[in-house]
C-alpha cells in the first residue's frame, strides 16, 4: 500500500480555491504584482503537490504557499522602494476599488479612496498575513498559526494588532 495520501486532481484545487487565492494575492500585493504572486503560488503548489503528505487541509496549504509568495514580493519591493509616507505608499501601491455595492463605507477615508488593502500592505508581514488569512482566506486561527509558524494565541494577537494599527492609520 502507498503511504502517501490520495490527492484529488490538482485542477479541482484550482476550480475550488483559485478565485479566492487570486483575490488574496491581488489584495495584498496590488493589481501590478498580485497576479505574479498568484502565478508563483500556483507553480510552487503544483511542483510540491505530488509529495504532499497530508491531504486533509488543501485550502490552508494553498493559502500558506500564497502567503509566502506575498512576503517574498514585499521583501523584494522593500529593498528597492524608498521609505515614504504611509499615504504616499498606499497610493503608490494602487487602488483595490472598495466601492463595491453593499460594501460598508467605513472607515471612510480608506474605503472612499479604495486604498484599504493598500494600507494593509504596509503592515508588518505577520499582521498583514494574519489579516488576509483571516478575512480573505477565511481560515480558522489554527491554520493561520500554522501558516505564520506561530502559536494560535500569537495568530489572534497579530490579527488584533493589525486591525488596531489599521484603524489608527485609516482614521487619522
Amino acid at each position: 500500500m502507498r503511504s502517501t495520501p490520495v490527492l484529488p486532481p490538482f485542477q479541482r484545487l484550482l476550480d475550488e480555491h483559485g478565485a479566492a487565492l487570486h483575490r488574496f494575492c491581488v489584495a495584498q500585493a496590488g493589481p501590478d504584482h498580485g497576479p505574479d504572486c498568484f502565478q508563483e503560488a500556483v507553480l510552487a503548489a503544483l511542483r510540491a503537490y505530488p509529495d504532499l503528505r497530508d491531504a486533509t487541509n488543501l485550502r490552508s496549504w494553498l493559502f500558506t504557499i500564497a502567503h509566502h509568495k506575498v512576503i517574498d514580493h514585499h521583501r523584494r519591493s522593500q529593498r528597492v522602494e524608498p521609505v515614504a509616507d504611509v499615504a504616499d505608499r498606499a497610493a503608490a501601491a494602487g487602488p483595490t476599488d472598495g466601492t463595491v455595492a453593499g460594501a460598508p463605507v467605513l472607515p471612510e477615508q480608506a474605503a472612499a479612496d479604495g486604498h484599504l488593502w493598500a494600507t494593509v500592505a504596509l503592515l508588518p508581514d505577520k499582521q498583514r498575513g494574519a489579516i488576509a488569512l483571516r478575512y480573505l482566506a477565511d481560515l480558522p486561527y489554527v491554520d493561520i498559526a500554522a501558516a505564520l509558524d506561530c502559536t494560535e494565541a500569537a495568530a489572534r494577537q497579530n490579527v488584533r494588532a493589525g486591525l488596531a494599527r489599521l484603524r489608527s492609520e485609516v482614521t487619522r
Binding site: L7, A19, R23, Q39, V42, L46, A103
Partner: protein
C-alpha cells in the same frame, strides 16, 4: 464565518473579486512550459455524446464517455498516474482533432501515440492486438480476438479486456461482437456502439463535413 459589526472587518471582507481567469491561464501556460502537468485533459463533443480525453507525455491515456462520472474518472487518473491533473485544451488538441476527423468520416485510423499504462498483462496485450490488427469497418468476435492474441480459450478474458478498455473509440472495442453477430456490451452504451459500427460500415454519416 463569525458575523461582525466591525465596519473595518466588513470593508476588508468586501474587497471586490478580481478576474482570476487570465492569471489562471497564464499560470497554466507556465506550468505546462515547465513540464509540471503529468495528465492534461479536456472535454470534446462527439456524435456519441461529450467525451473526456486525457493525455500524458507518452500519449493518449484515457477516453471517457459522458455516462461515466468525470470527477471519478479524474480521481482515478490522479490516483493511478499522478495528482498533477490539469485541464488543458491545448495539450489535447491533436487528440480532439483526430477524433473530429474520425467522426466526420475523414479518418479511418488514428496516428496519435497511445499511452497503455492503465492496462496491464493479458488485457493490455489484447487491446494492443485489437488496436493493431482489427481495422476500420471490420468486426471480430471475442473468440476471434482471443485467437488473434494466441489464446483461443480466453474469450471470457477478452471480454473483460473490452469492458475495461481505458481508451474506447481509438482502441476500437466497438468492433468486437459476440459470436453470431450479437452486439455484446459497450462501456459507452449500446446506441453508441451501433452508431460507431454504422459510421464505419458507411451506412450512416454522423457528422456532415462542411467541406464535402
Amino acid at each position: 464565518m463569525t458575523p461582525t459589526h466591525d465596519p473595518l472587518v466588513d470593508a476588508l471582507r468586501h474587497t471586490p473579486s478580481t478576474d482570476a481567469a487570465p492569471d489562471v491561464a497564464a499560470a497554466l501556460a507556465r506550468v505546462e512550459a515547465e513540464g509540471l502537468v503529468d495528465v492534461a485533459y479536456a472535454q470534446t463533443d462527439s456524435p456519441v455524446g461529450p467525451l473526456l480525453v486525457a493525455v500524458t507525455d507518452a500519449g493518449l491515456v484515457r477516453v471517457g464517455f459522458a455516462r461515466e462520472d468525470d470527477d471519478a474518472l479524474l480521481e482515478e487518473l490522479a490516483a493511478r498516474i499522478s495528482p498533477r491533473v490539469v485541464r488543458s485544451p491545448r495539450r489535447t488538441d491533436e487528440v480532439r482533432r483526430e477524433l473530429d476527423e474520425y467522426f466526420h468520416g475523414r479518418r479511418d485510423h488514428f496516428d496519435l501515440p497511445v499511452d497503455w499504462r492503465l492496462s496491464r498483462g493479458f488485457r493490455r496485450r489484447v487491446l494492443e492486438h485489437l488496436y493493431a490488427e482489427v481495422p476500420y469497418g471490420r468486426t471480430v468476435s471475442y473468440l476471434q480476438l482471443a485467437t488473434i492474441v494466441g489464446n483461443p480459450k480466453a474469450s471470457r478474458a477478452v471480454g473483460t479486456a473490452m469492458a475495461t478498455n481505458p481508451i474506447p473509440i481509438v482502441v476500437p472495442c466497438h468492433r468486437v461482437l459476440r459470436s453470431g453477430g450479437h452486439l455484446g456490451g459497450y462501456g459507452g452504451g449500446l446506441p453508441a456502439k451501433r452508431l460507431l459500427l454504422a459510421l464505419e460500415s458507411g451506412e450512416q454519416r454522423l457528422w456532415t463535413d462542411p467541406s464535402a
